[in-house]
Symmetry: C2
Subunit: 229 residues, 2 copies
């Protein structure tokens, strides 16, 4: 039997779909780059519509969870949202990095983030509005460095319509070099100690959603382009 390029592409699609599902279920961990055979698959996934549909599905599940949930009068019902590839999209940046096929490059990412031009992920922006309007306190919690990226991140969020959140929490000097799980756990613990009840926690990385005080319910936004430990 002759197998042309289409067949071998089809074969790899099955493999790469398995890989992507393993990433989303947190079965695949600590991977440094998208596997070479899945670079085209991930590009297609991100651009051809399935990624957007998958994000919409997560929002549908959040909606089911939110329906009938009322924020308490004491103003202490909180949601935690990650920023990179949760509120704001880095897809334009990763287009230049073969959608994660190239290794992580902190200096070019810093330059990109400093420009403050990341577009909102529309479905997450709508969620943000619904939460703020519903009386929830929204905490935007990001591993981005406070000193280098605090100002550009705040500006970027505002320009994209993220207004009305309670607090933007970036990585301070005390947490430089710490893993996202350690840093984010400490920040969430502080919120809980302040009396906030974390009703929901949304991120594109499992490291946003593990550790201490993760909240009543966690939601994993898809991201097959990179892994943050």
């Amino acid at each position: 039997m002759m197998l042309g390029p289409r067949s071998s592409m089809a074969f790899d699609s099955c493999y790469c779909l398995s890989w992507r599902v393993a990433v989303e279920a947190n079965n695949a961990q600590a991977w440094r780059m998208v596997p070479a055979r899945c670079v085209l698959y991930v590009e297609n996934y991100m651009l051809a519509g399935q990624y957007n549909k998958d994000v919409d599905m997560v929002m549908e599940q959040i909606s089911i969870y939110l329906n009938g949930m009322v924020a308490g009068d004491d103003g202490m019902d909180a949601w935690v949202l990650d920023i990179d590839d949760t509120c704001l999209s880095n897809l334009l940046y990763y287009e230049g990095k073969r959608f994660g096929g190239d290794p992580w490059d902190p200096s070019t990412f810093k330059s990109w983030a400093q420009r403050g031009l990341c577009p909102a992920i529309p479905a997450v922006l709508r969620l943000h509005k619904r939460l703020v309007n519903g009386g929830f306190k929204v905490f935007l919690l990001t591993g981005r460095d406070e000193e280098a990226l605090g100002a550009s991140t705040a500006k970027n969020l505002c320009a994209q319509g993220f207004v009305g959140y309670e607090r933007l929490i970036l990585r301070g000097p005390a947490y430089k070099g710490q893993s996202a799980v350690v840093f984010k756990s400490a920040m969430r613990k502080q919120l809980v100690e302040e009396g906030y009840r974390i009703r929901g926690n949304v991120g594109d990385q499992w490291s946003d959603l593990m550790g201490d005080c993760i909240g009543d319910r966690i939601f994993k936004i898809p991201n097959p382009m990179y892994f943050v430990p």
Copy 2:
């Protein structure tokens, strides 16, 4: 533009893939049946190869994790494996239940399980052998009722090649009516109190993998046919 059945099928495939990924990432919870529009999709997923590929991918990730891991000389390094749709497949049963499109039916499931004819999931049987041969203590932990299904389950496992495990733990009378998370957490806690170190925990339901003493690493085997709280 005319849209024939194939187009509408393609549209639903995108939706149902999003739904399936949401199930695997634990974004979709407490669903009672496969959505009607996804019944054919799930049938195709389970039978046409992608399910098997996805299981293989989980095994590949477990393999990466196991490589270089040596069971301690004290015989206290343990793995916990779920049974239904982890070690043993209920696919033949669910074929008669429209692959989860019909609601959960405890009495026909009990009859099915009592026959003791569930086939092994071959990739998980290979994992089981590797763990036993590698000196790990394997605990098979299932929500199946001890009194009704203990004997048939033990026989079924043996006939399918699951031999050499340390203990088969079924649901005793004290845990009747309790959720899987409560029952399985209590059982794992007991293992840890006995001194076992749970190095890995494998199940097809998130309720196998949440709660207390979940182990150093958890692995989610795909299952879009049913949800166990």
